[in-house]
Symmetry: C2
C-alpha cells in the first residue's frame, strides 16, 4: 500500500471514530495528512468508500488476532479459552477504541453502511464468542442469562470506559488507558466472567 493511502486511512479511522461518518469531513482528514482534499478522491473515489476501506483496515488486525487465538486455544477448555479471550478483549478495547466507537456511532439505527459492517466483520466474531459462552455456562444458567445477553454484557462492560475515555477521565482525573487501569479492568472483567460461569473465586488462581 502506498504511504499516502496509509496515512489517509490512519487519520480517517481516527476521525470517523471521533466524529462519526456524518461529522467527519474529507477536508479535515486531508488537512491532518498535509495533503489537499481532492487527493482523497483520487485515492478513494468517495467519502463512503474511504469509510469502508478504513473499517476494513481496522478489523484486519482484530480478525487476525482472534484467528490466532483459536489456534493457540486448541486443547484448552472452553472456560479457559473464554477467560483468556476476555482478558485480551479488554486490552484490545484499550488499544483500539476506534472499533467500538465506530460500531456505536453507526449502530444507532439500521443503514446500509452498518449492515455491511455487521455482515462483513461483526457477525462472525459474535457467533464464535456466543458459542463459547453457551458451552461454558453451568446447566440451567442459560435460561437466566442467555449466551447472547452475556455477550452483550461482556462487550459493553469491557468497552465503555475506553469508548468514552472522556467520561472516565472527567470522573477520575486519570486516563483509562493507563497500563495499571487497563490491567485492573481486565482483572475485574475476568472476575465477572468467573462469577457468571460459577467459578469459585477462592479456588481460582491467576488466569492470564
Amino acid at each position: 500500500m502506498s504511504p499516502t493511502r496509509e496515512t489517509i486511512l490512519r487519520h480517517a479511522i481516527h476521525e470517523f471514530a471521533a466524529h462519526g461518518f456524518e461529522g467527519t469531513s474529507t477536508s479535515g482528514i486531508a488537512r491532518l495528512c498535509g495533503v489537499t482534499q481532492p487527493l482523497i478522491h483520487y485515492h478513494f473515489a468517495s467519502k463512503e468508500n474511504l469509510w469502508r476501506e478504513a473499517v476494513d483496515l481496522l478489523f484486519a488486525e482484530v480478525t487476525g488476532r482472534f484467528g490466532q487465538m483459536r489456534l493457540e486455544g486448541e486443547g484448552q477448555s472452553p472456560r479457559d479459552l473464554l477467560r483468556t479471550l476476555m482478558r485480551r478483549f479488554v486490552h484490545q478495547c484499550a488499544e483500539r477504541p476506534e472499533i467500538a466507537q465506530i460500531v456505536l456511532r453507526e449502530g444507532t439505527h439500521r443503514n446500509p453502511r452498518f449492515d455491511w459492517l455487521v455482515e462483513r466483520h461483526l457477525s462472525p466474531l459474535i457467533a464464535g464468542i456466543s458459542q463459547l459462552f453457551a458451552a461454558s455456562l453451568p446447566s440451567g444458567q442459560a435460561e437466566v442469562m442467555p449466551p447472547l445477553h452475556v455477550v452483550f454484557v461482556a462487550m459493553g462492560g469491557a468497552n465503555l470506559m475506553f469508548s468514552a475515555p472522556a467520561f472516565f477521565e472527567a470522573l477520575t482525573g486519570r486516563s483509562p488507558t493507563a497500563p495499571e487501569i487497563v490491567e485492573t479492568h481486565a482483572d475485574a472483567m475476568v472476575a465477572v466472567v468467573d462469577r457468571i460461569l460459577g467459578i469459585d473465586p477462592a479456588s481460582s488462581g491467576v488466569s492470564s
Copy 2:
C-alpha cells in the same frame, strides 16, 4: 413551555442522539418539526444552546426517577436497593437510549460540551451508584473489582444493546426493545450483579 419549543426539543434529542452534535443539522430538525430553520434560532439562539437545553430535558426525568428511588429505598439494604436500581436502569436504557447515545457520542474526547454534561448531570449519578456498590461488595472483593470498574461494567453491560439497537437487530432479527427481551436482559443484569456481590443463585428469589 410553548408547544413549538417542546416539539423542537423532542426532535432535537432524537437527532443529536442518532447523528451526534456535528452530524445533526438545525435545518434537518426544523424540517422534522414542520417549521423553518430560522425559527430554531429565535427559540434557542444557537445550535450549541439547543443541544444543552435538549440534554437538560433528557436528564430531568432520569434525575427525578433516581431521586424518587432514593426515597422509596429508605430502610432497604444497599444490596436490595442495588438490585432494584439495576433492574430499573435496564428499563431506563431501553426506554431512553438517547442518554447513553449522547454520552457515547460526546465522550470520545474531552470538549467543553462534554465537561458541562459530566459536571451538570453525570457526576452526581455515578457518585451515588459507586457508593452503593462500595457498600455492597463482599470484603476483599473491592481489590479485585473496584467499585468504579464495576459501575462501568454495569452501565456498559446494561446499555450496549439499546445504544446500538441496529447491532442487536442485525444479529438476531429482533428489536432489543421488545418487552420480553428487555425483561430477559434485566433478569440477566440482576443475576450478574448477584454473582458479583456473591449472592448464591440457589438461595435468591425474584428480586424486583
